[in-house]
């Protein structure tokens, strides 16, 4: 899957699952504020990424993912 395909797919998925406007998702936008994540819904984000791409974001890597661009990078690097 190319980076462009990942971006298109995950953006649509996150907008649908977190019930937000997809236009608000841009590469440099902060994930936590944009998706209105708290500690509970952060787990939902991890679940979506795992279900969709088989990529499990580890507890240690989590703090390094702050923007959507960093999320795309992570999925791209770890997808099977």
């Amino acid at each position: 899957m190319t980076r462009e395909e990942i971006i298109a797919e995950i953006n649509a998925e996150l907008a649908e699952e977190f019930e937000i406007d997809e236009a608000a998702i841009t590469p440099d936008a902060p994930i936590y504020q944009t998706l209105e994540l708290d500690s509970l819904s952060l787990v939902d984000l991890i679940g979506i990424v795992q279900t969709k791409y088989g990529v499990l974001i580890s507890k240690t890597e989590l703090p390094n993912i702050k923007t959507f661009a960093q999320l795309y990078d992570y999925i791209e690097q770890h997808q099977k």
């Binding site: 509970l40 819904s41 679940g47």
Partner: protein, 467 residues
Amino acid sequence: MHDVLIIGSGLGGLECGALLAQRGLRVLVLEGSNQPGGCMQSFRRGGLHYDTGLHYVGGLAPGQAMHKAFAQLGLMDLPWQRMDEDFDHVIIGGRHFAFHQGYEAFVEGLAKDFPHQREALQSFVQRLQNITAEDMDVCAYDYLCQTFSDELLLNVVSAAAMKTELRRESLPLFNFAHTCSSYIESSWRLRGDGNLLVNKLIDTIKQAGGEVQTNSRVVRLTEDDGRITKAICADGTTYEAGYFISDIHPAVLCQLLEECPSVRKAFRRRMTSGENTCGMFTAQLCIKPDALRYFGHNVFVYDKPNVWTMTEENDPVKGVMISARVPEDGSEALRQIDLLTPMPWHECQPWTETKVGHRGEDYKDFCRRKAEQCITLAEQYIPDLRSMIETCYTSTPLTYRDYLGSPEGGAFGMRKDCRASMLSFHSVNTPLPNLLLTGQSVILPGIEGVTMTAFETCNKIIQDNAR
């Protein structure tokens, strides 16, 4: 208006009700069926009480894991009877082993059979006593393989963990250890049925001014301004409360939250897509009077050392737990024995569209055949058991599903996975600050797991109220 409304009267729901009522909160527990207690409920046939999920409890001696919790809940007043010093027996491939109460005795007992594994056994019990949340990420099977070089011993120490779902690839060490450790500390049976425990908790709730209502199935929860405000029952009755606790399966809870805007699809998906643990097949035997002496230990009988794989394909039955019921009249002979074996949901497929009492002759034949297989294995420990049986009642995961509302009849709630602990171990919190979870799907299954979770759930409310 109640302070706390609890949906479901399983052990977790009633424990939360008792703990919060003791704190002076006005508690209402709503049970959808006509009998409270969930997996703790018992039923009466031919003058005898039979249990559904209660067999033995660990760690009830003073200073041990469950004593303080049960004392606080008033449950130490019940007639607990300490089991034999050799509380669990294991028979694998015809060889007989015993687990002894107390960590040192546990090691010494098994070291007699496996002297070359003494250090490994010592390391094992050390680990059991030092389990932390980090062990949610550790694979129990991998840990055991690294610890025990003797494959038979690995199977022996795992054999009594039939009271959880053994899956090599996913079971976290956290769960496995909790399933073992409190029973090694001390093991207890109740002289009487599970309804003693249920009724004691209900009495505690009522004495503190709370209520427990049966036949009150909640079908919808309504949200106002980011909080749950009302529970609406199937008959249209509406109840208001400050806090709501769900003691039902999280996937079933999500059906009640369909009109709540604060619960986003992502949360619903996580709660509804999680896998369920396997269920159990139970043959409950009524034994002829004076035919068999009571024994104060459990016996786990396996055909072969395949403890960790038998659940995947358990037809014909490859392992069985034998649990004797304490004679209530104090006599030396027992009247009841339960035989339990894991039963994956796929074995129920022919009858998933059927209801209790209307499953057809082929289902009855299936249950008879499975019970026969359990009895044959059990006869490795109780020769000629078949001739002692007066009556045999059976239940399957379908029974659990239909009586207890447990999806796929899962005996241990939602499956926990060490490869994705963040996703499979749940917080008691939900997206709605006044809606909390409890019960065996949240963190740990079993009586100990549910009780620990109930305390965690209640602490959230108690801390909130203290602010």
